[in-house]
Amino acid sequence: MTGPGPMRESFEDRMATVEFRVAPTAHITVDGDSCRGCSTKACVTACPANLFVPTADGGILFNYEQCFECGTCYLVCDTEGAISWSYPEGGHGVVFLRS
């Protein structure tokens, strides 16, 4: 793949096209400690919202705020119990308008 070109919007611009009503509490939590033992970290590239960020110490930083609530992360995760996954509280989370 080529890097961002002049016609390519940044990932932030891409996510800015999506409406999120951010809940006060996280609906997904990631146990960064168990991620340290994971060599694949498939969540990092597969998450369509790019919410999983590898840290320098081999762990994972996760932010729930722009989550599509799709389920990709827990399905590709190799580490039992690393991701605890549920839906956001009612009325919150992603709001599609032209999907």
Partner: protein
């Protein structure tokens, strides 16, 4: 317990709304839960609704359904990096009642169908997430759901779980088993704004007519496919990616979309389109082989939650399967409520209903299709072979005389690494499946 209904339906997507509509019309008290701010707000798909299943439920549905365009052009494209072969079918018949396929924004379509259930008397509660089941199979049965509303237990004689592809309620009831990533694909999509006139010129459409392109060979080697379809003033372009292959490839979904959009065949169709929404959703692609349990004591499961989404290559359908299964769940619930037996055996008529119509008949007939479609041959070798074969047939190499099609096939099969025995077996398998 705050409220008591005959039935609580979880999820106001097409499955849930169809079930609620059937039940409310028959006079049952129905609570229809939706965790989003409005029905459809969590839903996303690959573009075409085939609504004829609504004929019996909402006569002349086409006069009121919030449709973007009626699909009159259906193309299947095979791409390699430098070649393309397209089967492009157009008919004016699909642009007239009763129509065939329609493009629509799910937030519009799903909200419309939920509105039909509300008109019939169902109580729609949005912004309400079902957090678990009341009761359990075998222990007096499921008797309603917990929600995240204050005091939000909702009692019901029956629960219909239409809570989508992640099937959290069916998993809690113990009828889903362990989800296998091999049975799922990720759909990622861009909605791009273009003036209606430009869309009509580029795709050769009249006003209200739409095009739907299904594409293989455009996903950077990750098993799956692409799609491109027209709305009124946007085009939607996206990819469907087999989860384990996506994970192993270390490629990002939006980069695979970008690569497809850069293909010289696709680029002119989407040029200048401004991104107005990016979206993603999982698809239960396993079909027949991943079918979960459909009923438990006090519960029925419909739509994506029951993996009733058809991903059979040349046929890609979901909303109609959701509506069809939701209707059957509603009819079965009616029968069970009237007979007083809401146990799993009392709900056995659900599977019979689905087997008796397209929902399970199509899944059973096409049970080999998802596996075949995601195979290395169909994904990579055959697209390359068929493009090379077409190129060889139409390349004039005078003074050499023309070779026959069979001679070209033998040469191109060898070049693409396809063994003729395997080709014959796949052809036979395809005929058994699709014939």
């Amino acid at each position: 317990m705050a409220e008591e209904f005959d039935v609580v339906v979880v999820g106001a997507g097409p499955a849930g709304s169809a079930a609620a509509l059937v039940l409310a019309r028959a006079g049952k008290s129905v609570c229809l839960l939706e965790r989003g701010p409005f029905p459809g707000s969590k839903n996303m798909y690959g573009g075409v609704i085939y609504p004829r299943i609504l004929d019996g439920l909402i006569p002349n549905w086409w006069e009121e359904a919030p449709v973007q365009r009626w699909v009159t052009r259906r193309a299947t494209m095979v791409l390699t990096g430098t070649q393309s072969l397209t089967v492009d079918y157009r008919t004016e018949a699909w642009g007239r009642p009763p129509y065939n396929g329609a493009t629509a924004y799910r937030p519009d379509f799903d909200a419309w169908l939920a509105g039909k259930a509300v008109e019939a008397g169902a109580v729609l509660a949005c912004e309400t997430t079902a957090t678990g089941l009341l009761g359990a199979p075998g222990k007096g049965g499921i008797r309603g759901v917990r929600t995240d509303r204050p005091g939000g237990e909702i009692g019901a004689r029956l629960v219909i779980a239409c809570d989508g592809v992640n099937s959290l309620l069916a998993k809690e009831a113990g009828i889903y088993g362990k989800a296998d990533p091999h049975h799922f694909t990720l759909g990622a999509k861009e909605t791009l704004a273009l003036p209606a006139r430009v869309i009509e010129e580029r795709f050769g459409l009249a006003e209200h007519e739409g095009a739907d392109f299904e594409i293989v060979g455009c996903t950077e080697g990750v098993a799956g496919g692409g799609f491109l379809y027209t709305n009124r003033e946007t085009v939607s372009v996206g990819v469907v990616l087999h989860l384990p292959e996506l994970a192993a490839s270390k490629k990002r979904p939006e980069e695979i979309i970008a690569s497809m959009k850069a293909n010289p065949v696709i680029a002119p169709l989407v040029a200048g389109g401004e991104l107005v929404e990016y979206s993603a959703h999982l698809i239960p692609e396993g079909g027949w082989v991943m079918l979960p349990g459909l009923v438990a004591d006090g519960m029925l499961v419909a739509g994506d939650a029951a993996a009733l989404c058809l991903a059979a290559g040349i046929w890609l359908e979901g909303v109609n399967f959701a509506i069809g299964s939701g209707m059957a769940a509603g009819e079965t619930a009616l029968e069970a409520l009237d007979s007083g037996n809401v146990s799993a055996p009392g709900l056995a008529g659900y599977r019979k209903r689905l087997e008796g119509n397209f929902v399970l008949a199509d899944h059973r007939k096409l049970r080999r299709a998802p596996h075949l479609m995601l195979s290395d041959r169909v994904q990579h070798r055959y697209p390359q072979m068929i493009c090379n074969l077409t190129e060889a047939m139409f390349t004039v190499t005078n003074p050499e005389p023309k070779k026959g099609i069979l001679a070209h096939t033998r040469i191109e099969a060898r070049r693409a690494g396809v063994r003729l025995g395997q080709l014959a077996r796949d052809t036979a398998s395809a005929l058994r499946t699709y014939g």
